[in-house]
Symmetry: C2
Subunit: 203 residues, 2 copies
């Protein structure tokens, strides 16, 4: 039986190397490529002939969800497994929509990772069970595209004027979108709204 060829993508070199050490202990797994940026995944996977890509979400260049979509689009035979720190319901949904075959949070015991890789390689879907329930209940974002845009800018604590400049809108419109987003998130200030939206994976 042929070994499963893996690509690891994580911006933290130490974690990347440690995961490689962990997975290389398995006889049927082989790490054939490692990258630290999301926009290098497709090229590296193609060159190394990877079967499965392990993708972290938080990465420079392109995040793991974009990378998963790119792999699904350009390398149809290659499966992707998203491995992330944050078990946000919206992340799971977005990962599945991006064509990922699996979703694992970094809280899971390390012994299960190799099995998750094997299942994904076999064509099965791997989803963190506790997260799946949350995702089904309240996963989809109630925010409109513009509301998500202004909330993204609001994450840094920017003023209305700067958000308006960044999104090329009138300050009044920005305030309307923010007010709407605050209502939808059940919060009282834009900072809280941005915070909860991020925790839900909506932005």
């Amino acid at each position: 039986m042929a070994v499963i060829r893996l690509l690891l993508a994580d911006d933290q070199a130490l974690v990347r190397g440690a995961l490689a050490a962990l997975l290389d202990l398995e006889n049927d797994l082989e790490v054939v490529a490692q990258v630290g940026r999301g926009d290098e995944v497709v090229a590296a996977a193609r060159e190394a002939g990877a079967d499965v890509c392990l993708l972290d979400i938080e990465m420079p260049g392109a995040d793991g969800l974009e990378a998963a979509a790119a792999v699904a689009r350009e390398l149809p035979g290659v499966r992707t497994l998203v491995v992330t720190t944050f078990g946000r319901p919206g992340y799971l949904r977005r990962a599945m929509e991006a064509g990922a075959s699996g979703f694992v949070v970094k809280d899971t015991p390390s012994a299960e990772l190799a099995d998750a890789v094997r299942r994904v390689h076999a064509g099965l879907r791997v989803v963190d069970p506790t997260l799946a329930a949350e995702s089904l209940s309240g996963g989809t974002s109630p925010l409109t595209a513009r509301e998500a845009d202004v909330l993204r800018e609001a994450l840094t604590g920017a003023t209305v004027a700067r958000i308006a400049a960044a999104v090329h809108l009138s300050p009044g419109t920005v305030r309307n979108h923010l007010s709407s987003a605050i209502g939808k998130t059940g919060t009282a200030t834009r900072a809280e709204a941005a915070r909860t939206a991020r925790e839900q994976g909506w932005i």
Copy 2:
């Protein structure tokens, strides 16, 4: 020569297990304990007879800096190496003040971790060189204790009224502290001030 006995503390089980796999590859290193909470470090290190503790900063119970201080206080012969995601200057300073022997960010190549452990065990100090410069230049926090308190509450985007309630102060006083903190951080809003203070490791 005796092997170096290691304790790993990281709240993410997957990362913890992967680091264990990485370090167990070295003949002179042995992982003898793993914990996922900061407040279990001392007991586990004592029971397992660890020589060196690898501590992540972000952990429930007690963070890695508190854990390092506890180890230094209660297990004088045991050295600690702080391994963290965020290379914030204030973190390095606080780690050293807590009695840690080393400070490594998760961006460093995985091949260097084992060497860092050996150096720490040998009594040397290990510090990420790029971070050391930053820390010397602008590491110490300009914030007073109260300013740090209100900024911590402001991180979530709370209103002045809620911050005041949480810190048991008058709303006016809270606004004064916030205004002062905004001035010291060179920002324009409390959200930005809280953000930069966190990035500097001041809170």
